[in-house]
């Protein structure tokens, strides 16, 4: 009898795993596992260990996944969005880190991968992955945000109903690698060096020009993410990481750095990733991601289930330093209350904010407004659009509102 039941449950588990994304877990019983009954899962041995050897989330969390949109015309020049509304704290798990690829995810054998540094240097060098891992290493917590995150909110009516799809080109991890300045000391850059070109080993051979000041400041040549090797979609085996800079400049699958005097004017820093203004001119090399925040609870999937106490919660970040303050409005921006910030508050890293809240069952609109350590304040949507227009495409950081209906359903106030 017991063996039969175990077999049955195991088969069910396998079926669920095979179902993958979107698979739902059927209740084993209705109320029979609740007090005063002895839960079913206490009455026999659980699953064995190493099951699997690399652990995966509970099947009950199968809907906490990256999502994308219909409308990409290729499978490889694409993006996927992090479910920021279902995460806690500030760390994004590696399997949920957002993706943006321009030529797919290359399948790189690390033994056959090389990083060449050349150009205005005394000694052009070529590094193996083993070489890179011998240098003194650093580990730092930083957010990574696509400069096109929330670009839909420039539109008069946003097409994005959920915070995952409006703000989810955003992740935050511990990044480990060697300081780029260490490698530049090794090659010996010439005094006239002003810019470098970073190039990826993907089918897009992605390239961006980066100011040498940033390279010598806090840039990291990263090979690990949240304690393990970079995921293939994050640049395995090695990527450039530029704390606070727009996502695209953090070149993945890094194979080459050339030192020069002028920017290269690559396609990704002219045709794309430039901010078009209403007068027809455009801002170029707008690297730093501006001060921004967003409420992640309540959200379109998880909201209030009854009247009473809840914690409104969200994320704040700045590419220019630390978050100093987050204010929350529960009346559509008329009045503001200061939220609690979770320590530690780290420069160019996500900061979790929380506000104790009692829901009375009435509809309302919740917003958040962040201020960074330099006094830069997240602008109202209208003010941002007044300044940069609706066609800038990149670096949208307007205050975001969410409407909570009487039935607790949450919708984008811009939609």
């Amino acid at each position: 009898m017991r063996i039969n039941r175990r077999t049955l449950i195991r088969t069910g588990g396998a079926a669920m795993a095979a179902g993958g994304i979107g698979g739902t877990v059927k209740a084993q019983s209705s109320g029979g596992n609740l007090p005063p009954h002895v839960p079913e899962w206490m009455q026999y041995q659980g699953q064995p260990y190493l099951n699997p050897a690399y652990g995966t989330p509970s099947p009950h969390e199968a809907d906490v996944v990256r999502r994308s949109i219909a409308g990409f015309v290729t499978d490889t020049a694409v993006a996927s969005w992090t479910p920021i509304h279902r995460l806690h704290g500030i760390i994004t798990p590696n399997g949920l880190t957002f993706e943006r690829h321009h030529g797919g995810v290359p399948e790189i054998n690390p033994d056959e991968h090389r990083l060449i540094i050349h150009g205005l240097v005394d000694r052009p060098l070529i590094f193996t992955m083993e070489d890179l891992m011998r240098f003194p290493s650093v580990s730092e917590l930083h957010f990574l945000e696509c400069s096109g995150n929330s670009s839909t909110e420039f539109s008069e009516k946003s097409s994005r109903l959920s915070v995952q799809m409006s703000h989810g080109l955003l992740s935050c991890c511990e990044w480990t690698g060697v300081r780029l300045s260490t490698l530049l000391d090794e090659v010996g850059i010439k005094p006239e060096s002003k810019w470098l070109l970073a190039e990826g080993a993907d089918a897009a051979a992605m390239t961006r020009s980066i100011p040498i000041e940033k390279a010598l400041d806090d840039a990291i040549i990263v090979y690990a993410q949240n304690g393990e090797a970079l995921r293939p979609e994050q640049g395995y085996p090695v990527r450039l990481f530029l704390p606070g800079f727009e996502g695209n400049s953090n070149i993945k699958w890094l194979r080459r750095i050339e030192i020069g005097e002028q920017p290269w004017q690559t396609r990704e820093e002219t045709s794309k990733y430039t901010d078009l203004l209403p007068d027809g001119t455009a801002r170029q090399f707008t690297f730093n991601m501006p001060i921004k925040s967003v409420v992640t609870f309540p959200n379109f999937e998880k909201s209030f289930t009854e009247k009473g106490f809840y914690e409104i919660s969200g994320l704040a970040w700045s590419g220019n330093g630390k978050v100093a303050k987050v204010e929350v409005s529960v009346d559509g921006g008329s009045t503001w209350q200061e939220a609690q910030l979770q320590e530690p508050i780290i420069s160019k890293c996500l900061t979790r904010f929380r506000l104790p809240f009692t829901w009375t069952g009435q509809p309302f609109e919740v917003q958040s407004r962040a201020t960074d350590e330099h006094g830069d304040v997240q602008p109202a949507r209208e003010r941002l659009i007044d300044e940069v227009g609706r066609n800038a495409l990149y670096h949208y950081n307007g205050i975001q509102g969410w409407k909570v209906a009487e039935n607790a359903e949450v919708t984008n106030a811009n939609a």
Binding site: T128, L197, S271, N288
Partner: protein, 191 residues
């Protein structure tokens, strides 16, 4: 006085001890280097150094005409970008047209209306196109496609030939359309 001397001696001893513990850990040579990595040979660099500078540095020998580019476009590019590059295909970047649209509500960012440097076309086509087989075109073919794309944007005549010198000399209509002094200026503003 005695106490002071003793303190100084202790500080000196501690410093010496620290120096002893720290020095071997640094393991850098006299120039402050770790001597990790190998010399990159000119051959290795040449095979990977595919970038083109806006002044034309990096452009290879070779040339291509608008007529040759028209043919290459038809069999290498048109299945995604459309037979007529002035008629954009939904989902793919528009390649031509849009001039005079940048300050309107519906700006069309194309090579002709937006791109500030012609060298970027060569660099991008060479490194990332055709989408299914990047880095497969020969220099003559990349020059030809570049000439064709400049022609359909009314920047080159239909009998034009492009090589390193003539490509670097092309002035794009929107060459002055960018504020490129943003960094590090915005960093200074922030601090």
């Amino acid at each position: 006085m005695q106490t002071h001397n003793m303190t100084m001696t202790m500080v000196a001893a501690t410093t010496a001890l620290l120096a002893l513990t720290v020095a071997p850990a640094m393991a850098q040579d006299a120039d402050g280097r770790f001597d990790i990595g190998s010399s990159a040979t000119q051959e290795q660099i040449a095979g990977w150094d595919i970038d083109i500078h806006p002044d034309g540095t990096g452009l290879p020998e070779g040339s291509g005409t608008v007529a040759e580019g028209t043919e290459i476009y038809a069999y290498q590019c048109a299945h995604c970008h459309g037979e007529d590059p002035t008629e954009p295909v939904k989902g793919y970047p528009a390649l031509a047209g849009g001039q005079g649209s940048l300050d309107t509500d519906k700006p069309v960012r194309t090579i002709g209306s937006y791109w500030p440097h012609a060298t970027t076309i060569y660099d991008y086509v060479n490194r990332a196109m055709p989408f299914e087989s990047p880095q497969s075109l020969a220099p003559d073919e990349v020059y030809a496609v570049t000439a064709y794309l400049l022609h359909v944007n009314d920047i080159l005549p239909d009998d034009a030939t492009l090589d390193a010198g003539s490509l670097a000399a092309v002035r794009m209509p929107n060459a002055d359309g960018f504020h490129s002094d943003i960094w590090p200026a915005n960093q200074a503003d922030a601090d």
